[in-house]
Structures are given as structure tokens and as C-alpha cells.
Symmetry: C2
Subunit: 515 residues, 2 copies
């Protein structure tokens, strides 16, 4: 657990701000109960408990929605706004501005639409599960049509609450990436589209053999994950670990964090890298500017965007754990745990941590091709939502673009446009955050190295604490006081761009091919 940064003073008891805080505190309590149930559901709940759990979560969701949109809550916000005087701190103003924006968004929505969307999402998920299993896009298409129709209506309702003019896709992306625009994404993604296919070709053309396929027993993977976290200052009295089908990180209370991993047979580094990744998410959550429980419920104490969140997990997964220096330090530990060296030395061990081979599946993609998977989805979302691409043409469009970007054509829609859950639940505007995470992580790393020397030098010395304390003093305390791009500019002194990420990839490809 990290020392909390300095925080604005607590509002006076009985004031409008204090009454608002009590309301937010209760809201956060309810929300965190949902998080605890989510964690339970994905780690230990017996399968037969699913229906009842669904009802429990729906009950809490209803209570949460009520607390976040009721006239009583709107009055609390208004009273706190009216009470703001010249002495109000910038943090208090920011908190109220963010609360007002969220309140207006909640109130802009027609409750009938919210209910219709919830039904369509639930139906979409069920239909998609079945369609993906049977590789039958046709049965999923009508559900997707309906979700797109409802999302367009939702965007037009929400647009009225937006402080500036935004396109439908931009409106839907706001909850994940505040202030994002298509123009910025196009500018950030253009260099990736231009350069990444060439880098992939370069790797494909090399005669570098695939790394040795060594598997690790489950207990040993567990042990190495524990050693990794221990070496990074993991404290079990604040964070607990568990197993789940898909790795995730969640926050259950201001001092209660959880991360999960899974062991995948045949993938000896999957759990290890996922542990690094989820720990990065959790460190960010643990370092957000809460001070104590008292500040837990305010907007400023929250993560600013999914992109920044992803930048933190990718920092620990890619900058640290996939680095050459890390491989050199940990290769002996892996060998000693295993009692042999199936990699025949640290260089191949490092290459095994960094497979660079394009594939069809996003969640299995490497650092080089990952962002191209995102560009594909981003452009198709725009086409579907804003440019009238018929849903029936989605599979063909997906396959053509995949071939153009990665040189691969999916043999089935299950390995193509049916692979992700996002659209099945009508989730639009989310994918770009994954790519932004790579760009932000690279640019933050570049700044760190400019000021403190190569990350690899610190990793080689086992001094990851230095990296952590830098993030803890520069990134985490900003909370939601800035958006992603402001955060990057504040920390690095330059606007966000794709160049640091490309510089990093060029060097990494070079180093890996030179082995």
C-alpha cells in the first residue's frame, strides 16, 4: 500500500458539500457491494448460483441508478453548487463539475430506453454465445442490428448533455475515454497503420526460429507469480489473489483490492504476464488520490480513463516483465524452480516472453499486432454506427480488413467478427482505449527514461521500486483531475503521439531479430 498524497480539506459538517458527500459515500458502498459480488461470481460461486446472482446484481443496479438520478440527488448537487464560494478549492469545483456532467447524462436518458437496452444487451450476449459456438453470424445479426439501433438513440439522447458537439460514436466513447474525438484517434492511429504492417513483415521474413515450447507445472507457475508480486512489494493485507476464467483486477473498498489470474495449459507465461498486468491495474487503483475512506466516493478519486488504466497494466507487463533485463534476471529463477533450462539460456527465454507472430485473436495478440486489431474494430464501429454499413456485410468487411492489416483471413466468423464479447453487449467506443494504453505507456516510459535513465537499468538492478514510486508521484495522484491526453502532457511535457510506441517497437524488433 502506498502513502496517500496530500488532499483538499474535508468539507465542514452539515454543509451542502458534506450532505452530498454522505450521499456519494452510500452510493459507493452499494457500488462496491456489486464489485464484491462480481469478484465472488468469477472466482468461487457455484455455477447453479448464476440466476440468483443475476437478481442480486439487478437489485443493486436499480438502487444505484436511483441514487444517481433521483430528484433528491439532483437537489444535493444543486445545493452544493450554490454553496460554492470564492474559497472553494479547485478540487471541489472539479468534483462538482464531474458530478454535474454525470447527472445530466443520467437525466438525459429515457428510462424506457435504459430498460430496452438492458434487455437487448442480455439477449445479445445469449444469442452471441450460441452464434459463436456454432459459427453462425446470421443468428447474431438481428440482435446486433437492434443493439446498434438502440445505441444510436441513446447517443442522440446523451448528446444533449454533452458540453460540446460530438458524433454518436464519440458520445458513446465518453465514459471510457473522456473528451476523446475521432479526429484525435485518426491522427494517433495513422502512424500505426502505416508502420506496423511493415514491422510485422520484417519479423515474418526473418529466419528466426520459434522459441522453445516449454510448459510449466501449475504449482510452479503459482509459485513464480507469488515471487513476482513479493518482489514488487505486494501486501496481502490490502490485496488478495484468486483464480478466475479470465484474469481481472477489481476494487472492493478503499483498502480492499483483488487480482485474479488463470493457468493456461501449454502457455507457460500466461499466468505470469497476466499477474504483472493485473497488478499494474491494481497499483493504479491503490494509488488513486483517496487519502482515506472519506475521499473514496468523489469523482477526483477515480481512474481517469480506460486508456490510462491500460497504460499502467501494460507498463508492468511489457516495459518491465517482457524486457530483456527482466528475462536475464528471472531466467535463473525459472530454471531453478523447474530444475532444468528448457530454453537453453536467457536469450531464448526472453524471446519466449515476446512472441511476435500475427494471429486472428485479439486477446492473444503480441505487442506488434495488437493495435492493428483495435484499428480494425474502431473503423468497423464507425462504419456500423455512423456510416450505414449493413450488419450483414460485417463478416466480409472484417475479413477483408484483417487480410489487409495482418495478412490473415479468418477461416470462420468465430475466429473473426464473433470473437469479442463487446459488440454482443452493445459496447461501442471501448476498443480504442486498449490501443491508447500502449501509446500512453510508451510515452510515459520515454519520459521516465529521459529523467532517470533506461528502465532496463533499473530492472537489471532489481530496482522496480524506483519505477513504482515514479508512477506513484506523477500519474496516480492525478485521479480524474485531468483526462488522458492532459495527463500525458502534464507528465511528459508533450502531446500524446504514437511515436514513442513506434520507437520502442522498432528497437525491440531489432533486438529480437539480432539474437
Amino acid at each position: 500500500m502506498l502513502a496517500p498524497p496530500a488532499l483538499p480539506p474535508m468539507p465542514a459538517a452539515g454543509s451542502a458539500l458534506s450532505r452530498l458527500q454522505q450521499h456519494l459515500h452510500q452510493t459507493r458502498l452499494l457500488g462496491s457491494i456489486s464489485s464484491a459480488l462480481y469478484f465472488d461470481q468469477n472466482t468461487v460461486m457455484p455455477a447453479a448460483g448464476a440466476a440468483w446472482r443475476g437478481e442480486q446484481l439487478a437489485l443493486l443496479a436499480g438502487q444505484l441508478h436511483e441514487r444517481q438520478s433521483s430528484p433528491a440527488y439532483a437537489e444535493l448537487v444543486m445545493a452544493a453548487e450554490a454553496d460554492l464560494d470564492a474559497d472553494a478549492t479547485p478540487e471541489q469545483r472539479s468534483n462538482l463539475r464531474l458530478l454535474r456532467l454525470e447527472l445530466e447524462r443520467q437525466r438525459a436518458l429515457d428510462p424506457a430506453l435504459v430498460a430496452a437496452l438492458a434487455r437487448a444487451q442480455s439477449r445479445g450476449n445469449a444469442v452471441w454465445q450460441d452464434a459463436r459456438r456454432r459459427n453462425d453470424f446470421g443468428t447474431f445479426a438481428p440482435a446486433l442490428e437492434e443493439l446498434l439501433r438502440l445505441r444510436r438513440i441513446q447517443a442522440s439522447q446523451l448528446a444533449r448533455a454533452e458540453p460540446v458537439e460530438r458524433s454518436p460514436w464519440e458520445v458513446l466513447a465518453q465514459p471510457f475515454e473522456p473528451d476523446i474525438s475521432k479526429a484525435r484517434l485518426d491522427a494517433l492511429f495513422a502512424p500505426l497503420k502505416a508502420e506496423l504492417p511493415g514491422l510485422l513483415d520484417r519479423v515474418a521474413a526473418s529466419d528466426s526460429p520459434p522459441p522453445a515450447a516449454a510448459d510449466l507445472p501449475e504449482a510452479l507457475q503459482e509459485q513464480l507469480c507469488s515471487e513476482l508480486l513479493d518482489s514488487w512489494g505486494y501486501n496481502p493485507s490490502h490485496c488478495q489473489r484468486a483464480r478466475s476464467a479470465h484474469p481481472f483486477s477489481c476494487t472492493v473498498g478503499p483498502a480492499d483490492f483483488r487480482i485474479t489470474t488463470r493457468v493456461v495449459p501449454g502457455q507457460p507465461f500466461s499466468a505470469f504476464l497476466a499477474t504483472a498486468h493485473e497488478w499494474g491495474h491494481s497499483l493504479y487503483e491503490q494509488g488513486l488520490p483517496r487519502g482515506d475512506d472519506h475521499w473514496f466516493p468523489w469523482p477526483l478519486g477515480e481512474a481517469t480513463s480506460m486508456g490510462v488504466h491500460e497504460s499502467q497494466s501494460l507498463f508492468w507487463e511489457c516495459r518491465v516483465t517482457r524486457s530483456r533485463a527482466f528475462a536475464d534476471r528471472w531466467h535463473p529463477r525459472f530454471c531453478s524452480a523447474l530444475g532444468s533450462d528448457p530454453w537453453g539460456g536467457a536469450p531464448v527465454f526472453w524471446r519466449s516472453l515476446n512472441p511476435l507472430r500475427p494471429g486472428l485473436i485479439r486477446v492473444e495478440a503480441d505487442e506488434l499486432s495488437y493495435c492493428l486489431h483495435i484499428v480494425l474494430r474502431y473503423e468497423l464501429e464507425l462504419a456500423l454506427l455512423e456510416h450505414d454499413l449493413p450488419v450483414a456485410e460485417l463478416p466480409e468487411q472484417w475479413n477483408n480488413r484483417m487480410e489487409a492489416l495482418l495478412g490473415l483471413r479468418p477461416p470462420s466468423d468465430s475466429d473473426g467478427c464473433l470473437q469479442d464479447i463487446h459488440w454482443a453487449e452493445g459496447l461501442l467506443g471501448y476498443f480504442p482505449s486498449y490501443a491508447l494504453g500502449h501509446l500512453i505507456s510508451a510515452q510515459l516510459s520515454e519520459r521516465f527514461e529521459h529523467d532517470h535513465g533506461p528502465i532496463q537499468t533499473h530492472v537489471a538492478a532489481g530496482d522496480e521500486a524506483h519505477l513504482q514510486s515514479w508512477l506513484a508521484s506523477t500519474v496516480w495522484p492525478l485521479g480524474r483531475s485531468v483526462n488522458s491526453e492532459q495527463l500525458v502532457e502534464r507528465v511528459t511535457g508533450r502531446p500524446l503521439s504514437a511515436e514513442p510506441f513506434l520507437v520502442y517497437l522498432r528497437a525491440k524488433v531489432e533486438a529480437l531479430l539480432c539474437q
Copy 2:
């Protein structure tokens, strides 16, 4: 999971009964969320999460209390009562009678007293933790005085809602053991007080050596617990297992059950016996007459008393797992798992499962002395609550009675009257249920054996399924339609008495000493 018994028809949609059911369903959802949080808290929650978890639980408790005592709820009950016509089923009448009784109890309580009790319980627990650690009864005494004072007031308020005249202790015991009276307990406990000390003396006088002290590695204990549950039809899709500091069983939803155990160093059978015990609790919960979710929230679908609950756990722990036939069947499995036989044969293995040696601590007590621990506490509760025993005299009284009953004098209050958490939280009226569980379990077993032959014969044949299906057809479907004593009379054809338990113990002592 067991097949549900036949159930009364669902109330017609829109009827008063149906509206009441919707209310109860939501109440049960909230209550089961608390259960999920309780499970999480005791199995995986990081220590630092405790304060926030306390707030989450308090929020849910407040919502639950509101739902169970509000005028709106009272009106729903009244409307359903008014709607009952000649066609109403006996089950509907029973459900409404039980709901009315609980509602009147809730409404009899002064909210200020409820709040004062909650504070006193929380303070009592904290002070007790410290007093027990430091063996300092003096610091705990004022907290206990205050709890007794508040409980007396609570009893006098609740007495007004009771359908019959009851003493303060009897009023407080009702939630755990409906319709229990001091006169019945005195009659049931008298034979135990008269005979158990003599049986203990007989064991002490024998020259039977203490059983071999074999410890079992943790992983092996885990494996044997799994084998045990598998042999009893454990289904992980309905029930999940976890570790906790103290073993418990809990129900999170109509098809979501959990049991926990712990491995205690130096006690090779602790986890194994606890697994049998908690599985017995869970089987009862799984077999209660719910039918489907629809019936989950009604009173009739609940366990009827703590005593009956305990009878079910003790059935599997004592009648089955501690039996000679079980020891004969499982001794080879333990030896094969361990790779050796530290017991030198099944007879000593069986004796190791059945230590008969009086000790100071209730939770470590054997079958012979356990009920005497309860008698001691029951009589002291009466003295404190109804007969003006000064709190300051509790330690001396405890030690004197312990010496008279078990021939042991505690060297410290931590091993004496400070050992249990119950009084520290003002919990009075609960202890007798533990002893009733032994008596009920014995009388149910006697009836089974009368109809189906010795339990040992079924256990020797590995036919525990026969035992389970008997409980599933006789005990579990009764839910709360009968109280403990009615249940025993219904199933065994005779009023509850201590004799079957004493018959069982006499035979067991004889068999163990004859080894």
C-alpha cells in the same frame, strides 16, 4: 442437489399474497447479498478491507430492517391475511402466521434500543477480544453488565409480541429455538447432568492409552476431505468449498451453497470432521422445501431451529464419520494416502477419531463432555439474566461449576468464562441449541435404525446415500412447518428425550474401552 418435494401452488399474480411474495423475494435477495459478503469476508477479503466491509454490511442491515418493519410491509402482511379465504392452504396460513409473529417482534422493539444494542454488541466484542487476550475479566465486566441490562429491556419489549407468557431468557431464545421453555430444557438436561460425569469418570479410570499422535500433511487432508465429499454426492456446481479461520456453512442463494474448513496443525482429523459437520448443515439447507426460487423467500422454506440444524451436522460428523464402521472403511484410505499406518490398525484409528477426554474448551470438547459445557452456560445465563448473579461473580461461579461437572478448574478466565464470543456480543439463549442438536440427532438415528437397521451396517456397505435419502424424505421437507420438538415427535413417534443420546454414549464408551 436433491429433488424438491411437492409444494403448495404459487399465489395468483396480482393477489395480496403475490405482492407480499415479491416483497419477501427482494428482502431475501438483500439478505443473501449479506451472506455473500460474509462468506467473502471470512475466506478471501484482505485484512485492511474490514472497516469498509463493516459499512457495507451495516448499510444492508439497515435496508433489511426497514423492509421487515416498515408500515408498507405491515400493510402487505395485513392485506394477505385479509385475503385468506376458505381455500387457503395450510402452508399459506402457516407462512402468514410466522410472518405476523416476526413483524410483531420487530415492531415491539424501540428503535433507540436496537441502535443501543448494536453499539453495545460492537463494543462488547472489541473489549472482549482484548480482555481474553490479556486474561482480564475486569475490563470486560462493565461491557457485559451493559449488554445484560439492554437484553433485559429487549426481552420485556419483545414479551409483548409473544403469543404466550415467557420468561426473559425464554423470549431471547425464541429466534434460535422456537417455543423452547426452561421447564423443557431442565427436563432434558437433568439426565445428562446425572449420568455424563459418571461416564467421564469411567473413561478416566480406564487404563486405555491415548491414541497415537499422527499428523497429516495439509495437501493430504485436503485430498481426503474431497474424497469424503465426493463419496457423499457432493456437487461443485451447487456448493463450493473454501478455507476460513473457523469452519462454517452458508447459503447464498436457492442453488448456491458454500462450506468452509481449516487445517489445524497437530490435529489430523480436524478438517475432515469439520467437513463432515459443515456438509451436514449444507445438506439440510439444500434440502429445505423451496421447490424453486419462487419459494425461497417464505418462512416455511427456512430451517426450523438451530437445534435441528445442529442435529444434521452432528449426524454426519458423529453418527457416520466417528463410527467404527466408517473407521474400518476409511483407515485403508488414510494409510494409502499417507503411505504408512501410524495408527497400527483400524481400532486405534477409530479411537483417534473419538478422543474421550474432558477439557476446558467447549469447541474442542468430545461427545461425552460437550453437553456439560452447554449445561454450565445455560445455567449461568439464567443466573445472570433472571436471578441477579452479579457479573463480578461470574468467573468464580464458572470455575466452581466446571470443577463440579468436569472435574477441571480453569487456570485462567481466558480458558474459562472468557472463552466464547457469544456473551461478548450479548448473545443469550443460543447455547442450548448445541446440546439439543446432540439429543435430536440421537433420537432421529434411533428411529432410522428401528426402521432400516444399524447405521453402521449402511456405513460399512458405503451406502450413506440411504441415510441421506431418509433425512431428505423425513426431516428436511418439514422446513419451519413444525418446531424442533414437533419435528422429533413427527419423525420418531415419541417426544424428544435424552435417553437415545445416553444409550448411544453408553454403548460407545463400552466399545471404545473394550478395545
